[in-house]
Symmetry: D2
């Protein structure tokens, strides 16, 4: 059953999580003004899935039923490509649609439960299957609680002065686990139905209590969310983010009980890092689409602003070059998402995993180029943004008329429109909200270093070394033990799976 | 007489300009909370000048009297270097000290009045001299009103649908001029004593009414300032910008009368562009120092944040590389300010003008690299910035204790300190204030294109062409008329003024 | 019939084109040492197509027959993807395989002849079809003669002081055309069978004589090729480019006669620019793969060099970051090639055209990042490259032994190997050959400005503007005439072709 | 006594060092064609010092005598600035003048001998003084032998499998030291009079035998130089580098005896790293000027090439932007050299040391931006460079006339000139010589990592941390021991040496 945004709001009203925003307890999440832009943004993911014209991208067919693409687990390269497009589409409307993170986590959990069951003889996959049925039939939205508090970053979880700076199992009961600790940077936390708890790093045996994955209802006893407002609600100048925004939350767990049927990792520390990395692969793939959607907003707004300033980009080569640079950045990293989809590979669990090299290259590109995107948007817009009279001035009888007369650009474009576009650009790029987009792009889904390591780990460097050795006519190397990382993935550059070529002579 | 910040505030209380902030009329500028961070920032320029230990940089000796370095006109390369250092020092304390713009304008006016008098037989220089005496003896702060509203950027001032989208002379009276129109992006506008009005572009004869430079008291009849709040006053999370900030204002002129003794350009359209460019040279030089001071804040905050996260930069090569990159950017553009000072050249008026190539290269570098500075600050800080509970949460009994326990990084660094540094970084780089710094860096003092043109205009390209022709043994070129721009400045790379070398043979 | 490289050489021996290399007439192209590396490189494209394991990428099925992928015209997105992979594979072996340019030209000609026939009632498509049959059945290699001499770039072709600085029709005969003028930068010119002549720009009616496309045998009467050596034949230090290289030629046409059956454009000036741009789209797509193959060589060589220097990249984070940066660049632009394939669109002629935005973004990225690739290869390699004793020293009894002892890096890697890898890196990046790779990457297939314009021309900017207007709740714009470039391509971000979403309300 | 270039050549004829180039023994260095471009380049440093017009930059006054600026030891900030200008001037003429490295080494040795004498009670400074007298009175040229062979980079010198992969003391005799081992990357090695031997890294006590600094005549018994040709002598296409170039040599030491009066470090391992770093500071300062001179050649050649292509940069904004970018890079890093000079600090020995932060920032900038400089030169030049017929073609009667007709650009600029400029650009940027410039820029004077570490070591990070703590009103930190690197250099941003400001209150 696919819900509408209205039904989604109503479903939230049936829950009573413990949520604080700006130091104040929230009575009803869907009715809290400080969270409204976030609820709106998530709502778009519901409404779009109901539209027939968008069905091919917004819905996926799972076991004879149609589910929201955000919650579907990709089974083919085509699924990955449609998920990518669906996320971009939603983020064009919302800045960031947030809901895709839950789907990324489900895909990683399906892979990991399959693997752990095979190696450890557990039955996690079946548990997950049952939960998936419930999630799909109720059309839920999930948040992802992965990043721990981390404490002193020089120390492993179990060695921290405060053992709960990472979330951990504090008690194993017959009927389930008891969890305590903290998770941070939970996108959309307050207005999802449940949280997927995941580990955020490699663990050693001594850290076994920190190896936990589970599905936790937001209103679970002992769970508190400390959230920031979603966007900039109530700020009249925030043309976009007063209506669409994202809340980021910290989740405090105080002896939160989770029954076994919702647990998918409970101490199998050897699998923690692998699970984390699978989630990261799915999530970096979707991040690419999300930021491309945000980029579309900057491209459109930049074009409108140059127009309102009286600039014709066809005749202003320097500014046009900036616009093309902005497009180059956005489509350049989006292309990595496309390639990551096309070269996705099947996991034994049946999940199709985005190609890791392309997914990480794309995420790495956007994580630093988001700053260039802001620079280019500002360059295109001109200096009006910093001198922009605020919206209160629009109704000040002493100034409004004169301002409107004197700050008009092209006479056929009303002042109101020019100022509106300028405020939109300020909102998206030079405000608290703009800052959120940049920091979340840089650090969301892992730091740049994490992506670099993932590229290093997956790149078929051995193939390239073999190639060069062959060209140097030195195919045989005396001591294979001293060879550098020799990732080999023959046919990597070849979707048809043909073999790496044999030596040949001129 | 050098004032203290307290005396500066009192002096402001004696004036009653017509200022609006957020649509509301301001009663007393120095007592208006929304402007307080700006008044504070300017105040630092007063107090520092009173300190004996800072005297060599903060004061300049003019005609037997010591004046604030911000208002002094540089007469030697050493003056330029000290001005540079003084501005950096002030901006370390304030983010941006604002007061130096007035001094930049005075230097440009001294050059231009000297030049116009020589060519047009006017007596502007003497008028300016008298005003300077007053400015110095009263230790005034000046704002610069240069950027016009601009209207439709495809049209010249006189051809605009609204003739007042650029400020213009609407009446020439026996006792002075009457001005109407609009000036925008006036940094510090509401809390200076007077505005220096300057033209902002080249003009043609048809634009003669737009050729006007003058000194206008803030409380002049017919002058209205529509200002934005200075920084983020009253926002508890804004650790820095609730105390130090900058207001940017739009000035509406409605038949503002200016007596002749305060007028320094009145219709001499041939000189307008030249005056604009002189101001730009002085101002780009000081901008470099201002943003270096801001960079110092990011460097210090970044170092504190890594420490609080438990990272030892001596052992974290990737993050250390980011810190060095941040330093490289800041000191790299600051070096251009130093070189611009050292190679400053004497104007016939006695003013030492910063070398234009280096000043524009430095400003161009900072105008785009400000975004890299923000990126690097975020990279160094980690993701805490986006999940940071707000200050209201600090006193929420339901969450404060637990948050403080769980979000501590290194155990020897209190949570309060870690959160404080993270908020500072958010304030400086991921907020409305951070956006201001980036846009003002990009567009303040002219767009990047303007700087590129100025470099193009001043670079001794002809010398380089001659060099290569000589090396190709083609010293003589048949038709000098077809030669490319042949700026020649022999000895340009040589402070000692030696001649460009003669051809020689191997 | 697919030839082997040996048969290709023999086929060349049956022709006697007029070719000069280094000022000397070439007797037999396939036996000329200065061209041998080029003949070798092209030969690889023949031999690889004969290998069954590579058949899925190296061959395409056309009308019931298998042809070399380099000469096939893509009819599906999958064809584009395989062509991309085939070109990368060949360029890994050869630095640049050159033969794909001919295929790019054939695809563009099929599109253009179909279009011109439809609009002008000509029968060019049938002529082309007949020629294609011949080309495929004889398994020919084609060169592309597109770039004219250009003369004074401020003037159009017909207005040049020398009317033959662009190739033109000097006579129209009953049996064909007579062409005179010059074409430059013909990759692989001397060792292909025939040249495809194409126009290189938009033309006006006055330029109609310059609108010519044709297939010209290399040995046509009146045609002279002035070529540079292919690679660095005979240079012992040139480990790679003494065996595989590329010649670039200038073609001088002196009244060259072309019979009508080989002519595909003859004065239809309105179509010249369109044809040029179609070729550019195909060619930029393949360029991406070519430079990715070159990048693979740098990646492999860089890894071998760090190893020989005794550096373990797993433990050297700074150098590893450089390696990842190199990978990021190569796979980043390759991803654009993949996306350009996947989003390829069907032309009315049946050709599948690579998506122009992605193809141009990818080519633009590589055209500037080739310099970063060289920088990173040098960074990884260390300074040995500049102090490297030459190969003659290897046999100098006075020095060879001592050098080998003292310049060994890791004791388990022989000096000979270290020096060999260093010479390879010098050959690929710091030699005449390295220079060729950088300049051809920057300017081959059009200057960066040409790609920027193509992106500008094709980008669905109107869709982005509509999106933002809708979000600003201003769906209706008063005067559509004043709208900026409104490229609309609804569903552009959506392979499934769904419609752009309707306005919705929160 | 200052020599002319002719006298310099004659002085070289009086020596008979053991030099091999391309595997062949050199009879007379100044008469060896393969070394002629290097001898020419050094010769310019002699002839320019004899010119009265250049005296202020090219000569320095030392103890009542005028010496070549290249060999003078800077005693004031002004000396540093003039040295910078002198090096730029020479490198404009020669690509790289090479001789300044010897002067950099002498300055570092004066500092180090003063320091070692003070700490170890040695008398090295006096020995050095005597050698300096000789060097100055004979106007010698010195090469610098610093970079060791390095062997396996994971091991320290004494732990290498081959103990002579770094140069070491193999015997201490009553009359001097005996040295064996290898030094690499010796710029200008074959055509200087003597080599300054310096250690290239920090050493431990076990490495004491590797702590050696000395002055070794090129013809010392047991010393062999294996050199590469200087530039591209004999290549007609190498318009510049067939006349001016640089040889880089490897020096093999086989029991080379050095008498005590030429020894300045002999086992004092504690001082080795410090000496290395002092040399690096001086050398990075001069490198900046050297590459700026090279940049001047690219700027001039790029301007001539655009002109010959018929492009007017005043009307071609995209290409003009590229030219300004090239200027921005060159003057941007040169400014760091200027700032490094101005903020030079006095060493106890009387040497003025370039500011390390600015010197390293400048060198770091050029080391990576050299690749951008090549890219921009190619962008400005257009594609002619890769299709350029070679010089042999100029006299081929079958092609020369037609080529000259058809490849002319602007009709008022002869073909010969256009082709000449294109060849110059190829020579400087797309040839073996271009490769040398890029690799030597990246690795000469230390790898980028070495510069980053030096910036990290010298930057007054503690001052910035103090600043931010003060602004956060947390001047007192509980445990100073846990503080991050607290380099403090109060007044760092202040040439006048004023104190860092005290806390103040708003």
């Amino acid at each position: 059953m696919l819900m509408s945004s209205q039904e989604y709001r109503e479903s939230l009203r049936r829950h009573h999580p413990r949520v604080y925003v700006n130091g104040r307890a929230v009575e009803s999440v869907p009715d809290e003004p400080l969270l409204a832009p976030g609820v709106n943004a998530l709502g778009v993911s519901y409404d779009f899935a109901l539209r027939e014209d968008l069905a091919p991208v917004m819905r996926a067919r799972v076991a004879g039923r149609e589910v929201n693409r955000m919650m579907a687990i990709p089974g083919t390269a085509d699924d990955l490509l449609r998920k990518l497009e669906a996320v971009r589409l939603l983020c064009q409307e919302t800045g960031c649609a947030q809901r895709y993170l839950g789907g990324d986590a489900l895909a990683a959990l399906r892979q990991a439960t399959h693997r752990i069951d095979a190696e450890e003889g557990t039955d996690y996959a079946a548990r997950l299957g049952a939960q998936l049925e419930r999630i799909w039939s109720e059309d839920l939205a999930l948040g992802v609680a992965m990043t721990d508090g981390k404490g002193d970053r020089r120390l492993r979880p179990h060695a921290q002065p405060n053992p709960e700076s990472h979330l951990r199992i504090v008690e194993r009961r017959r009927d389930g686990l008891v969890l305590s600790g903290v998770k941070a940077i939970i996108t959309g936390g307050p207005y999802v139905h449940e949280l997927v708890v995941l580990p955020c790093r490699n663990l050693l045996e001594a850290d076994a209590d920190y190896a936990v994955a589970a599905l936790v209802p937001l209103e679970a006893e002992g769970l508190t969310l400390v959230a920031r407002p979603a966007g900039r609600p109530g700020e009249p100048a925030a043309l976009f983010s007063r209506r669409r925004g994202q809340s980021t939350a910290v989740a405090l767990f105080d002896r939160v009980f989770v029954p076994w049927e919702r647990v998918f990792l409970a101490g199998e520390w050897q699998h923690a890092g692998w699970l984390t990395r699978q989630y990261a692969s799915h999530h970096r793939h979707t991040c690419i689409a999300a930021r491309a959607g945000f980029g579309d907003l900057l491209i459109g707004a930049g074009a409108l602003m140059t127009e309102a300033n009286g600039i014709d980009l066809d005749r202003a080569p320097n500014l046009r070059e900036r616009m093309v640079e902005l497009i180059k950045i956005v489509e350049g990293f989006y292309a990595c998402g496309v390639a990551s989809s096309v070269y996705g590979h099947a996991d034994p669990s049946g999940v199709t995993v985005p190609d890791e090299v392309f997914a990480n290259v794309g995420k790495l590109l956007l994580s630093t180029q988001i700053y260039d995107m802001q620079r280019l948007a500002h360059h295109l817009s001109g200096g009006l943004v910093v001198t922009l009279p605020g919206p209160e001035e629009d109704h000040n009888p002493a100034t409004a008329g004169r301002l409107s007369e004197l700050l008009t650009g092209r006479s056929d474009i009303p002042y109101e429109r020019r100022i509106e576009v300028a405020r939109l650009i300020e909102d998206l790029t030079a405000s608290y909200q703009g800052g959120w987009y940049s920091v979340i792009s840089l650090h969301g889904g892992g730091s740049p270093e994490a992506m670099e390591l993932e590229i290093w780990r997956h790149y078929p460097l051995g193939d390239k070394v073999d190639l060069v050795e062959r060209l140097l006519e030195r195919g045989v190397v005396a001591d294979p033990a001293r060879k550098i990382t020799r990732n080999r993935q023959p046919g990597r550059c070849c979707a048809a799976g043909c073999q790496a070529p044999e030596p040949e002579r001129d």
